[in-house]
Symmetry: C2
């Protein structure tokens, strides 16, 4: 058997495992694994630094299957290399309930799945973040401990999605030379030939943003290996445009859209076995080929052992720091720093916008938590996400802690997911809340993957004023509260902002959004509380001596209105309470007793929030009073807008009186 | 005064109106109008086919200020040209409540604002749609009636957003040679110099997708004019990269981020007046310059008159058809065609997925409504949006009615907005519901602008099965219902699908989303009803003889479960009702009496929907029972998923019994 024959048989093992799994599931995408098997075989057997016995080794190379529908490619590779998580039985259980082998690769289902992919372009964006993280960590810990590549396999769909432009321009700008992207250039998308929808020269496009580009036959193992070697030596990120045939080997369907997303069917499979000279049963890999794969799986053990030696040689402090960051533990001094600052705030009682409050809080956090990496999508001065500790990262200097992400909300959020997945880093962003819509697919994936990424989103309502309805969130509180696993915070003052930041950082298993104001707000928390009141999601901020006739629920900037109404009602002898609701999600996680007590059993219930009502019925019932927005905002100074839309103390008091018949 | 001096003074009129309005409002963006004034002056005085006395003339050129923060550029131009809507008083009222001169250009605030811009990149995407619409209409009505350009002014931000890639690749592929984009290449974004975040050669990038590109000094009027002439003669869309100085003329702030988004301040304004030799009071335009502008405003009257003559010469049928389509009226035969088909369905009672139902309905609609233009983001066979009437549009043939949008959901939705804004076309899309997240910013703008665009979004829940949680909408019903002005439909069978399509087409003042299933559903509407029951948003689908002890609310595919539960409860002697809820928004628009009657006063209330609970408390109260999802889905055959997540007839019946203590 020549080397080429051996390569081809090893690649065929991937092809047939994919074919057989899709056929058995009666569902799935055989075309990509069949087309990209040669690329994957070369990459995984000769280059990828990946030890199946230690699949979470921090210095492994990352492989991201951005074209996630080709999931069987990844599952087959992991099985063949000897992964504990991906047995042959798992492959046979493809796309079934409870299997590790979901329709698209799901992070957490097994080691070797570096990120959840499927929504096109996301994996590419994640990979850019992973490559940023590698570069950051290399700067901090030296190349003895951190020195790995990030490889991506992307399809035409990944490259057509707009997010790919944000990802590639960020990577090109930052000169992420250890990022190597294979474009599986098979010329086919679901509707047919790519040329019916696109006429882009992808190599020229990437080159226009500073990429190294290489053009190869994606079925030629030597060309693939040469290209990877060239890419590894480049001082820029590399696109390897690999011409492939989708469904390679299928006698009648190869090279057509028919092989993309459906089982081949018995006849076509039989023909493919003949064409590729693979006379084996379904799911059978001949022992010599399985052995060859398993030997390839042992390839990185040396590199891993060498790394362990280098790690053991590092000084104790470095080792401890490296391990702490990678575990995701916060530094020991964090909690005390928060408490000290909270004490100070209780004394100072500052009036400030919560975006400014967040900046002040970040100044405390970034001092004690060195693994935070901040940034903004070109709104640094508006989002207030930069602190004295966070100098900018530049293409030539990754010692900084602040990324000017450019006007790329989607690319930013996807990169942050990649940074969190890489490990060792806590990324936080800056943007306008309205533009959460621009990066919503990535926020959702952070939630699905349970990743600690923190989005600072300022200018959170009509309170931003003159920029008008295109910039004023109205439905965004509801829309973000709707995403499972995401914690949406809307703090009312600087102390709540501090508490919400603390909760975001302590939330190791999910993303957070902090919605912050442009406009000034008074301090509403008058006394020092050691406990984190925001951790309850909602709590009684102002109480009544008697049983409350009125309860006013509010969040963020509308707490001020609620407290003013509370004061007026109290002065009028109407017993009233104010409940601050910084987070719906954390409230729902409380005990039934606590929730019932906060909501209260009787009386008039009023919610005040400068957004739509959706979600508030949980607190006020569908017969409660909602003081807020029912449509889009307008362009005007913000105080005029609050008056215009009737979100005022007077409106709250009048509603309470009307309901009470007082 | 030389021509150059005259040009410069005319451009300075724009600059100072912008400076003065921003200063008076104490808010706004002077930098762009100052930098782009030369481009705008050349374009509006020498090229743009725009008649201020007939600003809605169908064959006018379109000008899209994609960099919407520079709104004062547009308002100044419209005032100077003699627009009725933009008086000097309006300019003085910039960014104030009720003014036409909002912070960002708002469609509907005055003629000449062709689209709402501000969220970056959207205007570019709209313009691609306008240019597509022009090309389509030109094919249908001939260049005697339709022959105009679409001009765009885009900033660095527009070009960094991913949507720009989707827009430019679509335009390049379709060879939209009447699309001319000025890139205001001022090298500055909010965080500083663009080079701190991006290293892209934009001309190479556009050229890689088939664009003509031209590089000019954006302050040289002859160069600008030459470039426009070259662009007009091109067989491809053109990018004019115009090097400009942001805040041109400001002595200390020009060319810096300081002039982007804040008033210049009195000293800097005074210095700018000196530098540009503009010794006039605030808001004062010397009469010779105003005259020159007003004369420029008369320039297109001839072209308009000639067009009117050509239009008068057209045959009666063509004139009527052209006017009907541009008014947005549906053809006379539409209602009857819907009714005839509905009668047939009542007899046939077909079982089919609602995506297939939609295809059948579209076959009826597209036969009688020639102005529908369908498409899909590369999921034609899955979305079922193509019918025999809709042949593909290709770069060389725009006689078709179907656009293969490619894997570009965001670009597609933005282009559809532009097509609707252009007039004469009803665009509908195809995509997976999960990817509504990818195009949400454009859907929101359609709602804000009250445009009739229709999004067909299939694979609407865990019912899509094996593709798993990355593809299964869970929070998307709530998130879309949250957008003000958008009508979200989730029909339960083919008859409801027909009714929802009818409502979407009849909704002239807003966009619609049709959420449709992958999986088969039975017909649940058993009898022919002349009225459109879905128009009520919610209606009683199955009633009880006695007062209902249980009311089950459901939508879409879960109606089948609700009806099965209804049957079992009824057989057990428990009086139950089923309310079908195809649209929350239309329900809210009904009379209080109707709503109260549908919701019912007592009994157990249960909602069933394969999404999250948010929003359903409106129907069931916060003490009602919700049978649905509380987190992400999973990868498995869909029937297994419904069982796994407990969205079953048995769960509904059990909940009803438990509540009744039965």
């Amino acid at each position: 058997m020549t080397d080429l024959e051996k390569h081809q048989r090893m690649a065929n093992a991937i092809r047939f495992l994919a074919i057989d799994a899709v056929e058995k599931a009666k569902s799935g995408h055989p075309g990509l694994p069949m087309g990209a098997a040669d690329i994957a075989t070369v990459l995984f057997t000769q280059f990828l630094k990946y030890d199946p016995t230690a699949p979470s080794w921090a210095d492994r190379d990352r492989f991201v299957l951005s074209a996630g529908h080709g999931s069987m490619l990844l599952y087959s590779l992991l099985y063949l290399l000897g992964s504990d998580d991906f047995s042959l039985d798992e492959l046979k259980n493809f796309r079934q309930l409870g299997s590790r082998t979901a329709g698209h690769p799901e992070y957490g289902h097994g080691a070797g799945i570096e990120t959840t992919t499927g929504p096109l372009g996301q994996g590419f964006g994640n990979a850019v973040g992973m490559a940023i993280a590698e570069r950051l960590q290399r700067d901090r810990f030296g190349k003895e401990l951190v020195d790995h590549y990030t490889y991506v396999l992307a399809g035409d769909g990944c490259l057509m999605e707009g997010i790919s432009q944000e990802a590639l321009t960020l990577a090109g700008h930052l000169k992420l030379n250890k990022l190597i992207v294979f474009w599986d250039d098979n010329g086919i998308s679901i509707d047919g030939r790519v040329e019916i929808t696109d006429s882009t020269n992808q190599q020229e496009r990437f080159a226009a943003s500073g990429w190294n580009t290489i053009d190869i036959d994606g079925h030629d193992p030597e060309a693939i290996a040469d290209a990877i070697r060239q890419a590894q030596a480049s001082d820029r990120p590399t696109l390897i445009a690999a011409k492939t045939t989708i469904g390679f080997g299928a006698p009648t369907k190869a090279g057509t859209a028919k092989v993309h997303g459906a089982p081949l069917g018995a006849d076509e499979i039989s023909g493919t076995r003949d064409a590729l000279n693979w006379p084996h049963e379904a799911f059978e890999v001949p022992s010599d080929i399985l052995d060859a794969w398993r030997i390839a799986g042992l390839r990185s053990a040396h590199a891993h052992k060498d790394w362990q030696k280098r790690f053991a040689d590092a000084d104790t402090e470095t080792r401890a720091d490296f391990e702490r960051r990678n575990r995701g533990d916060l530094p020991a001094g964090f909690t005390q720093a928060v408490l000290d600052y909270k004490k100070k705030l209780a004394e100072d009682q500052p009036t400030m916008a919560t975006r400014k409050a967040s900046e002040a809080v970040l100044g405390v956090i970034n001092e004690v938590v060195p693994e935070t990496i901040g940034g903004s999508a070109d709104l640094t001065g508006s989002n207030n996400t930069k602190t004295p500790q966070t100098l900018p990262v530049t293409p030539d200097d990754f010692s900084g802690r602040y990324i000017h992400y450019g006007i790329r909300e989607h690319g930013m959020a996807a990169a942050m997911n990649g940074m969190a997945l890489h490990g060792g880093i806590i990324p936080y962003s800056g943007g306008f809340l309205i533009f959460s819509d621009y990066c919503r697919p990535s926020i959702r994936l952070a939630a699905l993957m349970k990743q600690r990424v923190i989005h600072v989103m300022t200018h959170d309502s009509i309170g931003l004023g003159e920029d008008g309805p295109t910039h004023q969130p109205v439905e965004h509180f509801a829309a973000l509260r709707a995403i499972p696993g995401l914690t949406f915070f809307r703090p009312a003052d600087i102390t709540e902002t501090l508490e919400c930041w603390q909760l975001s950082l302590e939330s190791r298993d999910g993303p957070s959004v902090l919605a912050l104001t442009r406009q000034n707000l008074p301090s509403v928390r008058k006394t020092f509380e050691e406990g984190n009141l925001c951790a309850k999601g909602a709590y009684v901020l102002a109480d009544s001596d008697d049983e409350a006739a009125v309860t006013i629920f509010a969040s963020g900037s509308e707490i001020e209105i609620a407290l003013d109404a509370h004061k007026e009602l109290t002065e009028d002898g109407i017993a009233a309470r104010v409940v601050s609701v910084p987070s719906f999600e954390l409230f729902e996680a409380q005990s039934e007793d606590y929730k019932a007590a906060v909501i209260g059993s009787g009386g008039v219930k009023i919610a005040v929030e400068a957004g739509i009502r959706m979600g508030w019925d949980r607190f006020i019932g569908n017969d409660g009073v909602f003081v807020g927005m029912s449509g889009f905002g307008a362009s005007a100074p913000y105080k005029a807008l609050y008056e215009h839309f009737g979100i005022t103390k007077d409106a709250v008091v009048a509603a309470a009186r009307e309901r009470l018949g007082a």
